[in-house]
Symmetry: C2
Subunit: 387 residues, 2 copies
């Protein structure tokens, strides 16, 4: 186990009806909020009205920033900062999934920086303070509700980079599983695949003697595997939504990575699919992950896959090691299939291999330090196999 | 899953050598500390000298309170408060296990109360502020390094009660597994049994649909079961000490109980053994727990024990349900036996049953609301079986 620092200061109110805590949480930090949201699904579901009513009843003033993009842009962050400065906002209140929360984190941090917001993305040490953030989560996937990351895009520069700062942990996150009932099957499936990938990237890893962490990750994986397919089929199954929601936070809030380190190869490879073909991130991960598993299965890694197969899927430990590993990979694919995800590149409309080389060059940079070395040629081969 | 609030603000520096962070942590909160410790083992191991040297090098002044009892007394808390007030202490720095940390928490909270310290124990709402606490853990067991409880005893009143306040979470805890190398085999075994019991009390519980939490608890139990016996036999096995240390914090920092609730019957029963016969708490739990499991095994509970047996010990799921449950209980006993613990009351020197009735009356109060109803007569029978 490697040495580590642990710190997750976000407070969570979890469960049906916990939205009622919002005024109390806000009042701890001020009396004027900026509501941040995306395309307006929160208006269709009635959540927006509920929040606004709660704020009004409690004499909390609000402004709003809508239209946050699925990959939140730095220009949107700057719009939010301008509102905060002009209107004297005390608290940033994102309502939505990871993109909305990331945008709010960007706003909260850029508020205190006297210059273009992109500067703090390029140089996180310029983040010296942040407005308090309170999140209302409506999509379980990215874990942004309980972590210190925000991914911000710059259209002009064609860049998508992280803000990474202890100062942007949400102060409070309200996690009401019923607020995810309206998430469509495809987004539920992609979100679950995203969570699973967050865990896989830490689980399949060269750091030794992390028994505690490995067993915890198996617990999280089992939860995804059990409840992902249920939530896809029964969108208003409370237990499925609750177990998935809590898992999404713990899959990437830093806890499981305490004592481990290493690259995230599947993410590095998938990012190219999203960038070149606009593939939904979680779906891209569901396609790529089993092929990365198969490609990296060798005498050095087989025991990792065996442990996974036995502990997560309950595969008979008396079988041949490669048999267990291959069954584990097949069962992983089956989980994604059970959630209705298409599992080849061709099936999602990628009909030629034109960019595979170019994408692989970029992906290879992100794979440096991963548990199995993956060169550009390896990644081209993975794309070919997944074609 | 029940609704819950989650909040664990303590920051942890984990790993060999992390003591070097101490001056940085202290300086965040002030420049004068009260070192709190117990019987002086930290002087024998050299830890005391290291801490003092670090403080001196960094111009941090210190006072000290030694001799904290295994069950810290309110009179000792008051001694600490007096020093803090007289000497202008900024930070309370316990070095030790749960008793020492609990005492420090009592001091930190009573510092701001203008009256007898016992008042705040009797009425936790009187805790309105607390001095910052930074802990250096030397014994993995109670989880006090990452929770908001302190158990304080009052000799005069013959009472042992909790302070329970968000304000007494340690700000930082330094968890260096090598600092537990000197913990004797018996204390290691008892500490591991204590951790396991913290998990069992939440795991065997009537709340439904806590898949996430149940799988996490199985992860923690597996870690105890693997590494407890190793740490007993190889006291300086880093991986064993590290995995146990991190497990001790997570077994009782509140995380696993999020979404669950209920009484802690084994603790309620064991507390009487400690009170009447001065049995080491963790050892008492190791004796009592398997008998409580056996006694509560019935058609309503068998599936819980079956799940435990299959998921934690890998028992063949095709066996008869009661066979699995009984094997699981026997394997639990075996873990305690493997750590060298004696497992009947007679074996630890309790040679008559004089107090069983009296103890059972008291224990029954603490069992109210547990997953199986346990009356006074049930508890007498459990004592008899464990005799």
């Amino acid at each position: 186990m490697q040495n580590f620092n642990y710190s997750i200061p976000t407070k969570v109110a979890f469960g049906e009806g916990t939205l009622e805590n919002l005024p109390k949480f806000v009042k701890e930090y001020g009396k004027k909020v900026l509501i941040v949201y995306g395309g307006g699904s929160i208006k269709r579901t009635g959540l927006y009205d509920k929040v606004v009513a709660l704020l009004k009843e409690n004499d909390i003033a609000y402004e709003e920033l809508s239209g946050v993009e699925p990959n939140p842009r730095v220009t949107t962050v700057e719009k939010g900062v301008a509102i905060c400065r002009e209107k004297g906002i005390d608290v940033v209140l994102p309502i939505g999934g990871g993109s909305t929360i990331d945008c709010a984190k960007g706003i909260a941090a850029a508020y205190y920086y006297d210059g273009p917001a992109w500067d703090i993305v390029l140089n996180n040490s310029l983040v010296t303070n942040a407005l308090p953030i309170i999140t209302i989560l409506t999509l379980a996937a990215t874990g942004s509700e309980m972590d210190y990351f925000a991914v911000i895009s710059n259209e002009e520069e064609k860049e998508k980079l992280d803000i990474n700062s202890d100062l942007i942990y949400p102060k409070y996150s309200i996690l009401d599983p019923t607020l995810t009932y309206s998430v469509p099957a495809y987004q539920t499936a992609s979100g679950t695949a995203d969570m699973m990938s967050h865990i896989f990237e830490v689980y399949f890893n060269g750091v030794k003697d992390t028994f505690f962490q490995d067993r915890i990750m198996e617990a999280l994986l089992k939860t995804c595997i059990k409840y992902g397919p249920i939530a896809v089929k029964e969108p208003d199954n409370y237990d499925a939504r609750a177990n998935l929601m809590w898992t999404s936070s713990w899959a990437i809030n830093g806890f499981i990575a305490c004592g481990k380190s290493g690259a995230w190869p599947c993410h590095a490879i998938e990012h190219q699919l999203s960038a070149y073909y606009d593939v939904t991130h979680g779906h891209g991960l569901a396609i790529i992950t089993p092929y990365v598993m198969k490609y990296t299965l060798n005498d050095k890694t087989v025991d990792m896959y065996v442990t996974y197969g036995i502990n997560v899927f309950g595969i008979d430990p008396s079988l041949d090691r490669y048999e267990i590993a291959n069954q584990a990979i097949e069962k992983t694919t089956q989980v994604f299939r059970d959630m209705g995800l298409k599992l080849t590149l061709r099936d999602i409309g990628i009909t030629d291999k034109t960019y595979f080389e170019e994408m692989a060059v970029k992906a290879a940079r992100g794979c440096e330090g991963s548990f199995v070395e993956l060169t550009k040629d390896d990644i081209v081969e993975i794309f070919n196999q997944a074609f």
